[in-house]
Symmetry: C2
Subunit: 200 residues, 2 copies
C-alpha cells in the first residue's frame, strides 16, 4: 500500500520521529508552496522580510534556518509553519467494516481499528454530516492539500471522487483528496457520516 503501511501499527508508542531535521524536505516544501501561490522568489523574500539570497539558499537545501526565518516564511506563505517541515499526500483509501489492522486488546469484546495515522502536523477538523437522499451533493475542490476522511455512522451513502464514488455502509471508512471534485449522496434516510477534514 502507500505510506500507511510503513507506519507499523503505531503501537502504544509515540509517533515516529526521524533523527535528523528534514532540511531537504523543508527546501522542497518552501519551493512548492511558493510556486503554488505563484510568487517569485524575489517577491516572497520581500514579503517575508528576508533577503532573497537567504531564501535562495534555503530552497536549494543549503543552510539551516532559524525559527524566526522559517516562521516569517510560514506567515508569508500563509502556511501552518510546520507544514513546511513535513511531507506529501495520500490517495483514495477504503476500509470496509471489519477490514484494517486491528490493535490487539486485552478485552475480547473491544476492537480498535486504525483508520488513518495522521500525517505529521496536518490539521483535522471534525464534522458530523446528516444527509437525506436526494440530489448528490458535489463539492468543488477545497484548498490544495486537503484530504477528507469519512466514516459512515448510519445509513448508506455514495462517497468519494466525483468520477468514481463508492457505496459505503455503517462502519465503512474512506479517505480521498479534497482538492479535486468529490461527491456525497445519501442512499438511505437519516444517513449520518463522521468527517475529518484534513488541511495539511
Amino acid at each position: 500500500m502507500d505510506r500507511y503501511s510503513e507506519h507499523p501499527p503505531e503501537g502504544p508508542g509515540r509517533p515516529e520521529r526521524t533523527a535528523r531535521p528534514p532540511l531537504a524536505r523543508i527546501a522542497a516544501s518552501i519551493r512548492t508552496e511558493r510556486e503554488r501561490i505563484g510568487l517569485s522568489l524575489t517577491e516572497l523574500a520581500k514579503r517575508a522580510g528576508i533577503a532573497k539570497s537567504t531564501l535562495s539558499q534555503l530552497e536549494s537545501g543549503t543552510g539551516n534556518p532559524s525559527v524566526e526565518t522559517l516562521w516569517a516564511l510560514g506567515v508569508a506563505l500563509d502556511v501552518p509553519f510546520s507544514r513546511l517541515v513535513d511531507p506529501p499526500r495520500p490517495r483514495v483509501t477504503v476500509l470496509r467494516l471489519g477490514e484494517g489492522a486491528t490493535v490487539p486488546s486485552e478485552h475480547a469484546d473491544y476492537t480498535v481499528t486504525l483508520l488513518a495515522s495522521c500525517p505529521p502536523h496536518a490539521r483535522r477538523d471534525l464534522y458530523v454530516l446528516r444527509v437525506e437522499p436526494g440530489a448528490p451533493k458535489t463539492s468543488e475542490p477545497h484548498s490544495p492539500g486537503t484530504t477528507e476522511h469519512a466514516v459512515v455512522a448510519s445509513g448508506r451513502a455514495l462517497i468519494g471522487l466525483s468520477d468514481e464514488p463508492l457505496e459505503l455502509g455503517p462502519g465503512d471508512y474512506i479517505s480521498y483528496p479534497g482538492d479535486v471534485p468529490h461527491i456525497c449522496q445519501a442512499l438511505e434516510a437519516g444517513t449520518t457520516i463522521v468527517v475529518a477534514m484534513e488541511h495539511v
Copy 2:
C-alpha cells in the same frame, strides 16, 4: 526584530497565525516538557547533543534556535517538534446530536456540524472502536498533550473522564483530555464509536 510588523493583516478563514514567532512559548514548552520527563537541563542538553548553555538561553526565552537545534530537542524530548511551537490545551466538551453550530447549506436535506476545529499542528489519528457491553474499558493516561474525540456511530456508551463519564447515543460527540484516566463502556450490543486521537 520588527521585520514582521510590515506583514499584511491576517487573512480571514485561515488558522490564526501570529506575526512573530512564539519564542517565549517555545521556551516555555521546552521547559515544561523537560520537567515532565524529569530531565535536568544538563541531561537534556547532553541527550540532544547541544550545549547546555544553548539550552539554558533557549529556556530563558533568549535566542532564536535553528531548525537543527529545535529538532534535536524535539527528538530528545520525544515530542512532535511542532508541539514545541504551540500552545495549551482543552477540556471536556459534549455536543449532543443536533446541537452545535451548523454550517448553512444550499440543500435543506444536508446538515454539517463542526465538532472540533483542529488546533494548529495537532495530529489526529482516526480509529473506529467496536465495543460490546461488559466491564468498562479504562485507559491509563496516554502521552501528555493528548486529546480524544469520539462520536458514537451506533449503540450507546459511557465515555469520558473516569470520574465523570457521560452517556452518549448515536450522533453524540465528546472530547476530553487523553492524558488523564478515562473510560469507555458500551451499554448496548454492537456499539460503534469513531475516535480521533489528538497528539498535540
